[in-house]
Symmetry: C3
Subunit: 140 residues, 3 copies
């Protein structure tokens, strides 16, 4: 049994920029040497989230953002913006609804995502950000 | 310490079919022999999700689907459907919002769900599907 | 390698009461003795959820609840309430959308949350509740 920690660094454009983590996560599992076990991935920060999506332009550039704009509109009223003079109340609300983490199984040295299923970072903030996804892998 | 992997196979009706995973997941933990540790469960595919719900007909047959229909309507406009000629843009958006995985603790050889809390697969696609939930259990 | 289980007990006010779990979770990791590995946290019950948020009054007392009220209004129509004569259909729907668990990495004996990112319990029920968050920590 083995436990390793890894850090994935990403530069985003913010504003619902969605980045494909497939290669980064599979590389982390390979580096860990774990063949069977699990990986916990969490994005650091309160205006980003992790999930999975079919990584094609229609969903990634339009449909996900449209749905989030309906749920928490960019020009809505947010008390958060009074607290700090910020402009990103919608970013925080969206991030909390989506959630910061993924609980991933590792089987045969890989995470068994579907062919059309890509793990992604969603950067919901209003400006470009440097992001860190922390991953630990435990198993044998 | 021990790490095992398991695959739960399910036949769904699609269209927000919600299936109770309680027995499958508790059986997986029993098979693993792990008494204390954790289970990571992930559905394979980008039009399904995992969560928990009180598994009673009001929520499972009506209320969850109604809320998802408000968030991402079946007859809404989705760029995804232009990309592929598909009809399931809403399925993808709903799945990304709900998320594909559950991070479960294992205590005394069981997952300590509440009495009225059932783990579920939500199949959000527009047709019946064969689904796989992959689970790994790590612990002692 | 080591696997420990922990139980965090909380008294809430219900009605979208949001409680900061930072100290409780970091204490659990400290008690576990695990330096590198992972923690799976799950709230017991079907009307509460776990996520992360910047724990400041604007978001915690207003903005998150407003977004959830748009998604699943308290005075909406819920078949769940016909089944049981309950008044908390919206609580269940919100909990299922948010999800019950967090998949947390442990690095250098801590969970690497961001400075402005706090793990929280959201109690979505319509009355004060005693809540249990179960956490298991696995690693070395």
């Amino acid at each position: 049994m083995n436990a390793t920690s890894h850090s994935i660094q990403l530069e985003t454009e913010g504003n619902c920029d969605i980045l494909d983590l497939t290669d980064s996560l599979q590389r982390v599992v390979e580096e860990s040497g774990v063949v069977r076990g699990q990986a916990n991935a969490m994005v650091v920060g309160s205006t980003a989230a992790l999930s999975t999506v079919e990584f094609e332009p229609g969903l990634v550039d339009d449909d996900i953002e449209s749905a989030l704009e309906d749920i928490a509109p960019e020009d809505g009223h947010y008390e958060h913006e009074k607290t700090w003079g910020d402009d990103n109340g919608h970013s925080h609300v969206r991030a909390t609804l989506l959630g910061p983490s993924l609980a991933l199984p590792v089987v045969d040295g890989e995470i068994p995502f579907g062919t059309w299923q890509q793990p992604v970072l969603l950067d919901l903030d209003t400006r470009p950000r440097s992001r860190t996804v922390v991953v630990t892998v435990v198993g044998e």
